[in-house]
Symmetry: C2
Subunit: 352 residues, 2 copies
DNA sequence: TTGAAAGCGCTAACAC
DNA sequence: GTGTTAGCGCTTTCAA
């Protein structure tokens, strides 16, 4: 069993079959003009006959680029991130490159290990939504990177794409205010996430603009999951009781958890407690009531990420920050409140 | 700018820095015993100093295996498949390999192109849920493959993993029967999917066992999406009217769509129409009412897939078929019916 | 137009 | 214990 065992044929096999040298085969394959019509024909015939397919490894090793791109996101099972992955996938395919998707599970160590794997795989670049405390590791990544999300501030030299959280949060807050909710309780992610800081900052500004003392805001925190959102809401309800008339969650999964908690506490939504989410995952359409939410353009984020990364890989040094607009998706989880819960207005405070 | 430009260091750089040959470096790196303590130290020091990381491409080219595995699923944005991917991802990581995830979008051409890409990337093997009409392409894949789902029947020589659809459907049907629903309307996927055939077969058997004429079953079909499920249900309601007291959907997304349709038609669920899903996606917990469904062990499917593939890659010739049990997740979308809708009992029929 | 040869980074014989 | 060498499959000079 000499050459034509079962392994995939190489250009050498083709060369033999076509009676030419391997350089000629390479030329035919790459569509080089420096080759005779006759040889080209014979090569192509042999290629079809043997079912040759170029070995990407060897090609990449020689070419110095793999056509592979890494995508590191917190959780592929979270519909929002799955949608981002979908967008990136599509864009990458259109681009001729393939995507290596990794879930970091919000864990810095895992993220670091994934980044290392990507570097070793010699991906051409990576798109990552970094876990906060790992930001240093990212700085030394050594390959073109595009950031997704809020961490861009810490890396002014990297391109980044994200939804405009400031605009989104303001959009939500304004809408809540228009319904009479001036002091929504906040369901936030863990403190070491930049997204949380961002979120809070906008809320603060908004409060000040509306003469509310930010210090009086009710805040609970947890992870970005349904269970965690539910638990956090239960704690909130326990602690604040009837003062909770509106909840603004930093992510839809938590909002859905809040919904469960409210129901479990024997309260009604939106009757007694209004809930506003953030993300725009499809599941929000099925809840009872439907989840009103600030929708991020998930798929576009993935798509833009690939675009920016392609630029960076092509050596385009000037980084860019793409901010995609959030939209308000109204369903049934918000109700107008009669009580003006601005009770904690900034009157004795420093301002005014 | 000679050697230490900006490129990643190679073993040659390390060799130079440590004052040894590259084989010695390789030995130190691979933990070979045939090396002096002194050299090992110096190599390791140099490795740390230069931040060396092994080039996977070169390694793979030499080793003949890449440690990469392909996963081809219909849609990464479908929560069920995202969960499968998650399970596979975790198992692969534990395994030291990385996963290349592709969405085929239920499209044979796309699937074929992904399989080609995987072959060219020299993945060690692939796990795929094949689009029906592409089954031939799969036969010629030429690499170890593990099938997910029902197509296993067409490839008795391949390992496969899937949920036990027969058991799951029977479970659902029995439960429906226990509530008085003997002739659920069926919401099925497109005819060229093997899963549909399977599903129907079990329903038929069940009908016969309960003296129901399968030909009297109400059937609608569509794609495995919410929109499609909704449209199909609307058609069903339009056509059959009040005869529709129970719907059994072949997938949760369609079931959720059915729920929307029922609501839109001014009907109540489960009061007037009961709905049973199939998959067990998280979103089913938030609908109104909660979706009762047959839950497939999505994550385990991914996990087992990797296990089987690892076996196949290791040259374990005897294929295996792993069937994971489905469970019934009861929420609120099913109600007991008073009317015995076995009206179409097999009395005049051929049997008996 | 074509072939020979070098080399991408790594590992595994094979000498010494 | 260590260095030298060949070669994985490919592309790309450089000669002819």
């Amino acid at each position: 069993m000499s050459n034509s065992g079962n392994r995939q044929p190489t250009i050498i096999d083709i060369a033999k079959a076509a009676g030419v040298s391997k350089s000629t085969v390479a030329r035919a394959l790459s569509g080089s003009p420096h080759i005779g019509e006759a040889s080209r024909e014979r090569v192509l015939t042999a290629v079809r006959a043997l079912g040759y397919e170029r070995n990407h490894l060897a090609h990449s090793l020689r070419a110095g680029r793999t056509g592979m791109i890494g995508l590191v996101i917190p959780d592929i099972a979270n519909p929002f991130w799955a949608e981002v992955a979908r967008g990136a996938q599509d864009a990458a395919a259109a681009n001729g490159s393939s995507l290596l998707i990794f879930s970091s599970d919000w864990d810095a160590a895992r993220e670091a290990s994934h980044l290392r794997a990507l570097r070793q795989a010699r991906v051409d670049g990576a798109i990552v939504n970094p876990v906060a405390d790992n930001v240093d590791g990212l700085g030394r990544f050594g390959l073109p990177v595009v950031l997704i999300g809020s961490s861009a501030e810490r890396f002014p030299e990297l391109s980044s794409v994200g939804s405009d959280i400031a605009q989104g949060v303001a959009l939500g807050l304004d809408h809540l205010a228009s319904l009479g909710h001036f002091r929504p309780a906040l369901l936030l992610g863990s403190p070491n996430r930049l997204a949380r800081v961002r979120f809070l900052r906008v809320v603060h500004d908004h409060c000040l603009a509306h003469d509310i003392d930010p210090a009086t805001l009710m805040i609970e925190e947890g992870e970005y999951t349904v269970e965690s959102g539910k638990a956090a809401t239960l704690r909130l309800l326990e602690r604040e009781g009837a003062a909770v008339r509106c909840i603004f969650a930093a992510n839809d999964l938590m909002a859905l958890g809040a919904l469960l908690a409210v129901r479990e506490a024997g309260l009604t939504c939106p009757g007694e407690v209004s809930i506003l989410g953030f993300d725009g995952i499809p599941a929000g359409a099925f809840s009872d009531p439907g989840l009103t939410t600030i929708e991020k353009p998930a798929r576009s984020i993935g798509l833009e990420g690939i675009k920016l990364l392609a630029e960076a890989i092509d050596g385009n040094l000037d980084h860019r920050r793409v901010l995609l607009e959030c939209t308000l998706t109204m369903r049934g989880s918000l109700a107008r409140t009669e009580k003006d819960n601005r009770s904690a207005r900034l009157v004795a405070g420093g301002r005014n």
